[in-house]
């Protein structure tokens, strides 16, 4: 089934000082279905943020797209003109960034910054109508006293309130897909829960793509999961499949590393080693050096993608048992 948003063999990399392109994301394929929430999971540096910025076409200047397509409603976003892409940003695809502290402009009022999204995509609205809608939106994301808050500036808001402002800004045009890049990383735990609640409440109408390294958050709100390691998708499928049958050695390592209250562990399990930098990627499986079950050809040959069940894909050389519909 074609998704609302699809990555097909998408590869990108960075231009280094010598003019060579160092590959970062390699043949990434996955889909976000209409109305579903997808969690992209992985360690820092695995290419999660690059995935989101690729969709928005807001990659840093030294980034190079090496191949593949990103389809949104059947159109390749990478082939669109700058103007058509601007038309989609904020209206059809909206984004919440990781750092609420620095993602808002310090010299413009909150009301203006939220209203800007409307002003861009619904130019027919009058100033008064925009203000009315913005205040309504502020109320919806749970900001008390929105009439007064409307004309205040970012430095007068706490971190959690700023993230609510970011959510208000991203959802005011009711996007078809909302991308949230580690939206709760910079917040403390109680605020995290409130922000997550708010996001799952607002996703009712559209799809959600949630970038996180927190598996707890994935269980909380996601329907599908994509596990990434060092710029490649290693395992993907429905949330239930992945959580009940984690298959790839990396995914299993991730689950083993979650501290639990029921087990009496002396020491928390960790995956040995650390994520390689993109200049040190192996030609074969990028996880091989840290994998306890690695075989000789893992180091030299890219692992194949295999279907374990209609809603569960894994990229690994190991032999796994096939299952029916999970």
């Amino acid at each position: 089934m074609p998704g609302l948003l699809e990555f097909n063999n998408y590869s990108m990399g960075f231009l280094n000082d010598e003019g060579q392109v160092i590959n970062m994301m390699d043949n990434v394929s996955f889909a976000v279905q209409e109305g579903r929430a997808v969690g992209i999971v992985g360690e820092s540096g695995c290419g999660k943020s690059m995935t989101t910025l690729s969709i928005m076409r807001l990659l840093p200047n030294n980034a190079v797209v090496q191949g593949g397509v990103i389809n949104f409603q059947g159109t390749n976003l990478l082939a669109l003109s700058q103007e058509s892409m601007e038309e989609i940003r904020g209206k059809d695809i909206a984004m919440i960034f990781q750092e609420p502290m620095t993602s808002l402009n310090p010299v413009l009022s909150i009301g203006f910054q939220i209203g800007e999204t409307l002003q861009r995509h619904q130019p027919a609205l009058s100033k008064a109508e925009i203000k009315e809608k913005v205040i309504e939106q502020l109320r919806m994301v749970g900001i008390p006293n929105p009439e007064k808050r409307y004309s205040q500036f970012p430095h007068q808001f706490s971190g959690g309130m700023r993230q609510r402002v970011m959510i208000a800004m991203a959802t005011i045009c009711h996007p078809k897909i909302l991308i949230a890049d580690e939206p709760t990383t910079a917040l403390d735990v109680t605020i995290q829960a409130q922000v997550l609640d708010l996001m799952s409440k607002l996703k009712v109408n559209g799809s959600l793509m949630l970038i996180t390294h927190n598996l707890g958050i994935v269980v909380e709100i996601c329907d599908d999961v994509v596990v990434m390691y060092a710029g490649r998708v290693v395992e993907s499928g429905s949330m239930v499949e992945i959580f009940d049958h984690p298959t790839h050695p990396y995914t299993r390592g991730l689950f083993a590393a979650i501290p639990t209250l029921t087990h009496n562990q002396d020491e928390l399990y960790t995956i040995p080693g650390s994520v390689p930098v993109s200049t040190k990627f192996l030609p074969g499986c990028r996880f091989a050096p840290r994998c306890t079950q690695a075989m000789e050809h893992c180091y030299t040959q890219v692992p194949p993608e295999r279907e374990l069940s209609p809603s569960h894909l894994v990229n690994c050389w190991l032999e796994f048992e096939q299952r029916g519909e999970g």
Binding site: M56, L58, Q82, E83, E86, E87, I88, R89, G90, K91, A94, M95, F97, E99, T102, S103, L104, N105, P106, V107, L108, S109, E116, T117, R120, H121, F153, H155, Q156, M166, M169, A170
Partner: protein, 319 residues
């Protein structure tokens, strides 16, 4: 805001007072005797003493200082040793010429410097930015009198396109001809000062714009679907202009003090030239007056630029 302003004005007055005091004593520490210049040696001794007494130069320094401050508070800056005119009148005569130059130079520098700086910042290290960097480096490091003489030689002496000096051709003409004449005379000194000052504006605007464009909130603005033109203007400029405003304030202060070298080379009858002439003539009262005006402008422009910055940046205004 009112408390902030009162505090700034009070501090400003204190600064002016300190500057006036320092000027007074520094001038009197100069290893030269103004009496020798003021008093004609052919005069009788009694007449000399009478003249010294008239200017108060026979009294002890501290008493002279007390008298000077007393008069100043009443708005009396004394009389020029050289021309016997009241200092106020001397400065009032020169000030408009300096202001004319200042307005031309500041306006042009901002009108040209800000757009050029912004454009260079958008594509760092590309063709336009490299060209601009080279040009600003050259304009900032060049020695101003050298540039002045080069222009004088080329445009005024060799090509005879422009007058060599002064602010107008004496005797002053009437009406439109006079304004045209002044404009022609103003071209060279403005050009020299413009080249130097526009480079500063470009450099500051470019550097701060480059930093601002890397900020996360710029990416947020793009993610709403706005184009580069809008994002730079609405989200970039307001943040990026803060250093430019500070440096413009400093620029105005230094131009009010008169671009001494430029005004002297082009015989422009402004405050800078006045300072140069008064130092040569050991004209204490005029120098004191000129430096008083200078410190007052420094204080006023710095208050003004702080107010503009506070207006741009709510963290300062409300914080």
């Amino acid at each position: 805001m009112a408390a902030y302003l009162t505090r700034r004005i009070f501090k400003g007055l204190l600064t002016i007072f300190a500057s006036v005091t320092i000027t007074f004593f520094i001038l009197r520490l100069m290893p030269a005797d103004p009496v020798a210049l003021v008093v004609d040696p052919k005069m009788g001794l009694e007449a000399q003493a009478a003249m010294k007494a008239k200017f108060g130069l026979d009294k002890p320094i501290l008493e002279q200082y007390a008298i000077f401050i007393g008069n100043l508070i009443q708005g009396d800056m004394g009389v020029s040793f050289k021309t016997r005119q009241p200092v106020m009148a001397v400065i009032q005569e020169k000030m408009p010429w300096t202001l004319l130059l200042l307005i031309i130079v500041v306006t042009l520098s901002l009108l040209v410097g800000i757009p050029v700086g912004v454009r260079a910042a958008k594509r760092p290290n590309k063709g336009f930015d490299r060209f601009v960097s080279l040009l600003t480096m050259f304009s900032i490091s060049i020695f101003i009198p050298f540039l002045s003489f080069a222009f004088l030689y080329l445009l005024a002496y060799y090509l005879k396109l422009l007058p060599t000096g002064g602010a107008y051709t004496p005797p002053p003409a009437d009406g439109l001809t006079y304004y045209k004449d002044v404009a022609r005379h103003a071209v060279l000194p403005s050009l020299v000062l413009f080249i130097n000052n526009v480079a500063t504006i470009i450099l500051y605007t470019r550097n701060s714009m480059q930093d601002v464009l890397k900020e996360d909130y710029i990416r947020t603005a793009y993610s709403k679907g706005w184009n580069e033109k809008y994002v730079t203007r609405v989200h970039g400029l307001k943040n990026a202009l803060i250093p430019t405003i500070t440096v413009t304030g400093l620029m105005i202060s230094s131009l009010i003090g008169g671009a001494v070298m430029t005004e002297t080379v082009f015989a422009w009858p402004g405050v800078g030239r006045l300072i140069y002439d008064s130092v040569s003539a050991l004209d204490y009262p005029v120098l004191q007056g000129a430096f008083l005006i200078l410190s007052a402008t420094v204080v006023v422009t710095s208050i003004l630029s702080d107010l503009i910055i506070a207006w741009l940046d709510p963290r300062i205004r409300l914080g």
